[in-house]
Amino acid sequence: MKKTYKIDVDCANCANKMEEAANNTAGVANAVVNFMALKMSVEFEDGADTKSVMEEVLKNCKKVEDDCEIFL
């Protein structure tokens, strides 16, 4: 399953960091952050609960880039 979320982040490098953090979150098969469109598209692993996974993704992103937001 694939879902796209709106995000807010200030710099391109921070977006790259968010992408890495999202990819390292359990339940995420693949995540791509598009800085220019301010979007994150996340492909979930089968059977993953998207809501709780995304909360985890947000937590991990906040860790690497304090000043970011994902609109869940």
Binding site: A12, N16, V32, A37, S41
Partner: protein, 624 residues
């Protein structure tokens, strides 16, 4: 500028004014006062950077730009270089502000040029027009589009005439006309007249929504340069930090051992310069920005690219494989020649059209269209369709036989072998040969131009694939100047032919397949780059292709390649320029030639120039 940016701007202005005043004040004799006073602009402009750097360290994300800047400025201040310390922070913030402004601006720019999202639909409720959310309009509803409004949902015109501006969708500036019975697509702007439309799709499935979706999600497929840059940034920053540390420690220690003055201050200053230069922002922002602008610019020219990787691939294309029908030719059969024997051409066409009056075959239809007058069917009787041969009918008392060579042979009429591109229809009246009519698929207006343009764009091989007969295919290929032609192919053969061609080229060279999106989804996905053209309204094509040409003009492929090359040129310019200047300044900094001010240029100046260069990719006027 948004609120956040305005706040930063205010801080920058306050800090700059304060700094100018402090530099002019004679404070040399009061070191403590001077230090305290300089801290005011320093914290005004840089407190958030310091905070972020601190948080980064706490979250074990040490090596980022904030950290670089914090260390460099704190270090400079510790060395007593207050002016430089504050200036680095100040210019860093100016650079960041410029970057975020430029990014925001191009975001808006691109959403403006893709301004096809309809905001409402007018629905007639109890005789009164009401504006409703297009999402709530069901299939088969009647909607009204007033002059100046966008068509919100795909549908068929059931009342009214209008001219439509399709520029936002196709890049084509000539307006189209829509009348009763025409299919219209969402996103067009109604320029004149009121249209009543019966919707044939839901809003989410309509062309405008599909296209927006496609463009907005475009850069999720990243190109090699983009991946390279993000990997580069990940390795580069730590490397530079450790190098700076080495630069600050090793030379003085060596000098100390050698028994000469270690010059600690000088080497630490060099190391700090090093840190300022090294900030990777110029690269990290300008590359995705270039691709974003390139994709945006391309969509303005009617070329939708589904990802920056395809822009990269397009610029490397070497082989272009094209479908014939619908791509190079119009895909519509037309009477192109009437060759009458012993009767007038008009009479021949009339007799033929009448004999075919009851048939609905595409060929019959084009015959009737060429005749152009209403047919009195009461004059036609005893119609007999002989499958694989043609038609026999009694027209005003005469026996008219219309069909191919086999039919003529079967009734004992001798015909010449005619070599023409298309289908030849022979006509015999009362058993006597009276000539033939040629029906063929017309070449598109710009097909020839397109092939010449492709050659000029560096394409080494142009190939045409077709299910048509070899005779017709060869004539078309010769006319257009194609390098290779493969005729009489079944849809499955096209895939294997493309695979054969794929095997003949190196990995770096790319193969483009161009089709009209009908029946060629497997080939579109097998090619390096699948290009669907004339995709307005064809969902299958939009889904299967990597690049979608909004109009059905084959010379748009040339346009797409041109845009991709320009974009990639800018990408590489930025990579070489930014890395080149940085490396040069790093070396100058290490040997002590470059001071902090040059470092600021290497950081902020390079970033500003790279961003300005990136925005150039948005301009596609040349290719329109």
């Amino acid at each position: 500028m948004n609120k956040k940016q305005k706040k930063v701007l205010t801080r920058i202005i306050i800090a700059s004014v304060l700094m100018v005043i402090l530099v002019l004040l004679p404070l040399e004799d009061y070191p403590l006062v001077r230090f305290i006073l300089f801290m005011v602009p320093y914290f005004t402009v840089g407190y958030d950077i310091l905070l972020k750097a601190f948080k980064g360290i706490k979250n074990k994300q040490v090596f980022d730009e904030n950290f670089l800047m914090a260390i460099a400025t704190v270090g400079a201040i510790a060395l007593g270089e207050y002016t430089e310390g504050v200036a680095v922070m100040l210019f860093y913030q100016i650079g960041e502000l410029f970057q975020s402004y430029a990014v925001g601006k191009s975001r808006r720019n691109i959403s403006q040029l893709m301004d096809i999202r309809p905001d409402f639909a007018n629905v007639m409720v109890d005789g009164v027009l009401e504006q409703v959310d297009p999402d709530d309009v069901e299939i088969g509803s009647e909607i009204v589009v007033q002059p100046g409004e966008k068509i919100p949902i795909d549908g068929v015109v059931i009342d009214g005439n209008a001219t439509l501006d399709t520029a936002a969708l196709t890049g084509e500036s000539v307006p189209r006309t829509a009348k009763n019975g025409d299919e219209v697509i969402s996103g067009c702007i109604n320029m004149s007249g009121v249209l009543t439309i019966r919707t044939t799709k839901e809003f989410g499935e309509s062309t405008a929504s599909k296209i927006l979706d496609l463009v907005e999600n475009a850069s999720s497929k990243k190109s090699k340069p983009e991946n390279f840059i993000s990997k580069f940034a990940r390795i580069y920053t730590p490397v530079v930090c450790y190098s700076a540390l080495a630069l600050a420690v090793i030379p003085p220690v060596v000098r100390l051992i050698m028994g000469i003055d270690p010059l600690w201050t000088q080497w630490v200053y060099r190391a700090l310069t090093f840190l300022v230069i090294s900030c990777p922002c110029a690269l990290v922002i300008s590359i995705p920005l270039t691709f974003f602008a390139g994709i945006g610019g391309a969509s303005r020219a009617g070329v939708l690219v589904k990802g920056s990787n395809y822009l990269d691939a397009l610029s490397r294309s070497k082989i272009v494989v094209m479908d014939k029908t619908g791509t190079l030719t119009k895909g519509v059969f037309e009477v192109t020649k009437v060759q009458a024997v012993d009767i007038s051409e008009e009479e021949l066409l009339e007799m033929t059209a009448m004999a075919e009056a009851f048939s609905n075959h595409p060929i019959s239809r084009s015959l009737k269209e060429a005749y152009g007058k209403p047919i009195d069917t009461s004059l036609v009787s005893d119609v007999e369709e002989i499958s694989g041969h043609g038609v026999k009918a009694n027209v005003s008392g005469k026996v008219v036989q219309v069909g191919n060579e086999k039919l003529m042979n079967s009734i004992g009429v001798q015909v010449e072998d005619i070599v023409e591109p298309g289908t030849v229809i022979h006509v015999a009246i009362d058993g006597k040969y009276h000539g033939y009519i040629l029906i063929s698929d017309m070449l598109k207006e710009h097909s020839k131009e397109a092939i010449i343009g492709l050659k000029r764009a560096g394409i080494s091989k142009t190939v045409m694939l077709t299910g048509d007969s070899k005779k017709v295919a060869d004539l078309v290929a010769a006319d257009l100047g194609l390098d290779e032609v493969c005729a009489e192919l079944l849809p499955g053969d096209k895939v294997s032919k493309v695979e054969e061609l794929l095997a003949t080229k190196t990995d770096k060279e790319k193969l483009i397949f161009v089709g009209d999106g009908i029946n060629d989804a497997p080939v579109l996905s097998r090619a390096d780059i699948g290009v669907a053209m004339g995709a307005l309204g064809s969902d299958a094509a939009i889904e299967a292709a990597d690049v979608v040409l909004m109009d059905d003009d084959p010379s748009s492929i040339v346009k797409a390649i041109g845009i991709s090359k320009k974009c990639m040129r800018i990408v590489y310019e930025n990579i070489y320029f930014a890395i080149g200047i940085k490396v040069a300044c790093l070396i100058l900094g290490a040997v002590g030639i470059a001071n902090m001010w040059i470092a600021i240029f290497a950081d902020v100046g390079v970033m500003v120039l790279a961003v300005l260069n990136a925005i150039r990719a948005l301009s596609v006027k040349k290719y329109k």
